[in-house]
């Protein structure tokens, strides 16, 4: 007899997801939440012709590219700011305040300014980077702060310069935290890109959402929104796998 206990966890997940989707379908069909909440089958209709699929596909590719670039720029900017703050202790507090202040400005307020400065083509990337950098910066900063004590002491006794200790010990030890920051920032980067597209970008999921709204094409609006979600979740999943690898490699 097999005495090993079955793990029902994944089963519950699948069941829960199916239940939620079924509820969505039922509510959408019944129409109790109005026309703006269509059934899943109606949303699937937005993908039913090649032209529609290509339209959504191009929009997704555009937004994903902007979000990816934004995440990359946000990550590089955080890395630069945190590294400078770590190496030049006198600048640490100032950089921290600067980063927090920028983060506190509502993204929506940047939009019109960016259209003038960066142009409608680049605005999604810039807004995406602005949405992404803060979680990365906070995660990387605390990763550096809570690096293990003993290797830090070792570097001090060996007379390592701050830069050498950073390159050899502190930064590698903070890599898992850095990837964690990337993972947390990914959904924000996608939303930032879509938001940036509202300010006059030629295409993208954000543009599609706005135009669907204006033309009352409710299923297409939902189809575009769901693609945003799918994009965020895939980025999050991929980065979670990277995080697991980084944790195994860089942490005891």
């Amino acid at each position: 007899m097999n005495t090993r206990r079955l793990d029902y966890g994944p089963l519950y997940t699948v069941f829960g997801l199916l239940a939620a989707l079924a509820a969505w379908e039922v509510i959408g069909r019944s129409g109790v939440w109005g026309e703006s909440f269509p059934a899943l089958s109606a949303i699937a209709g937005a993908y039913d012709t090649t032209i529609r699929r290509e339209l959504l596909g191009r929009a997704l590719a555009r937004t994903a590219t902007s979000a990816g670039l934004g995440l990359l720029i946000g990550a590089l900017a955080s890395l630069l700011l945190v590294s400078v703050g770590h190496l030049l202790k006198s600048l640490h507090e100032g950089i921290d305040s600067f980063a927090t202040t920028i983060h506190a400005i509502p993204t929506i307020a940047f939009g019109p300014v960016l259209i003038l400065v960066a142009g409608p083509e680049s605005t999604p990337v810039v807004l995406s980077a602005l949405a992404a950098y803060f979680p990365i910066l906070v995660a990387l900063d605390s990763g550096l702060k809570f690096a293990p004590r003993a290797p830090h002491d070792l570097a001090a006794v060996l007379g390592a310069t701050t830069l050498r200790a950073f390159v050899r010990i502190h930064f590698p030890a903070a890599i898992p935290a850095f990837v964690d920051g990337l993972r947390m920032a990914a959904p924000g980067a996608v939303i930032g890109a879509a938001l940036g597209e509202w300010f006059g970008a030629p295409r993208g999921l954000g543009v599609l959402i706005i135009s669907s709204l204006q033309n009352v094409r409710i299923p297409q609006l939902w189809a575009a929104a769901l693609l945003c979600v799918a994009c965020s979740l895939s980025a999050y999943t991929v980065l979670s796998l990277v995080h697991r690898w980084a944790h195994r490699r860089y942490v005891w």
């Binding site: 003993a150 002491d153 070792l154 006794v157 007379g159 050498r164 030890a173 860089y250």
Partner: protein
């Protein structure tokens, strides 16, 4: 026969010209606004060149603080530390100190070879691969140069840590309970191996430990500290033949010294005061 300590007066030392000279070192930590902890109170002792001195004492007697001051990781409030006539900061700058901690402090993402090479990289000295291979052989890890620390046992990790501490050929080796986290069997095996390593290197060494047997087996001299405030309670010279193999460690002379040091350690614990004094 009952062994008396060679000196019981705190601060007294009679070991001639010291290579390491610790004189009048005091250190106070503030616990909060009203309470201070006098961790070290006027510690003075010398270590001769090539000597291995072990420091034992009840927990909280400031022995790790003492090591951290000699390593330049903390500064003394009063007194001075001289190593070959120079300050710890100077030696640190010149990459001439070696250190190993109870927490082996190996970097999990580096192979054994690269962990041993770390002092080269941290100090900007070109990596000497031949020296790393030689040290790995000395600590019995030649076959593990490309393994990562996770794949090693606790005892093997500490051997890597020791190899790393001596790779730059330091003028002073500082060991802070390097075998403290190991089981007794591994610990004794390592003690035997480390003896021959030290015999071939002849590096001046300060060993912090809480094991009296380990101290007596490895050291030329054992310093016993009392706690609160941290101070020297007694010192014993260990005049046993080397290598101190099983024959020596099973001998009556060895056991008598261990007994005498243990008794002195008990006295030191009894003499240890309460930790707090009123702050200014």
């Amino acid at each position: 026969m009952k062994l008396a300590p060679d000196s019981v007066v705190a601060g007294h030392q009679d070991h001639g010209v010291g290579f390491v000279e610790v004189s009048g070192v005091s250190k106070t930590f503030s616990l909060n606004r009203r309470q201070n902890l006098l961790a070290l109170d006027g510690m003075s002792f010398d270590i001769r060149k090539g000597e291995l001195v072990a420091v034992v004492g009840p927990s909280g007697c400031g022995k790790s603080t003492l090591l951290r001051i000699i390593a330049g990781l903390e500064t003394a409030d009063a007194g001075s530390v001289r190593i070959g006539g120079e300050s710890p900061a100077t030696l640190t700058r010149e990459h001439r100190l070696g250190v190993a901690f109870q927490d082996h402090a190996l970097l999990p993402w580096l192979s054994v070879g690269d962990n041993i090479a770390l002092p080269y990289r941290l100090s900007g000295v070109p990596v000497n691969r031949a020296r790393i291979a030689q040290l790995a052989a000395m600590v019995g890890l030649s076959d593990f140069l490309h393994s990562v620390p996770r794949q090693l046992s606790g005892g093997m990790r500490q051997r890597v840590s020791i190899a790393r501490a001596i790779v730059l050929d330091p003028v002073l080796l500082l060991l802070d309970e390097p075998f403290g986290a190991l089981d007794l069997v591994t610990r004794r095996a390592l003690n035997r191996e480390m003896q021959s390593l030290w015999a071939s290197l002849g590096t001046t060494t300060l060993l912090i430990t809480h094991s009296v047997e380990e101290a007596v087996q490895l050291a030329d001299r054992v310093i016993i500290m009392a706690a609160r405030p941290g101070r020297i309670h007694a010192q014993f010279n260990v005049d046993l033949p080397r290598p101190r193999d099983r024959v020596v460690t099973d001998s009556l002379a060895f056991l008598q010294i261990v007994q005498a040091v243990s008794a002195s350690l008990d006295d030191a614990s009894a003499a240890s005061g309460s930790s707090l004094e009123a702050g200014s």
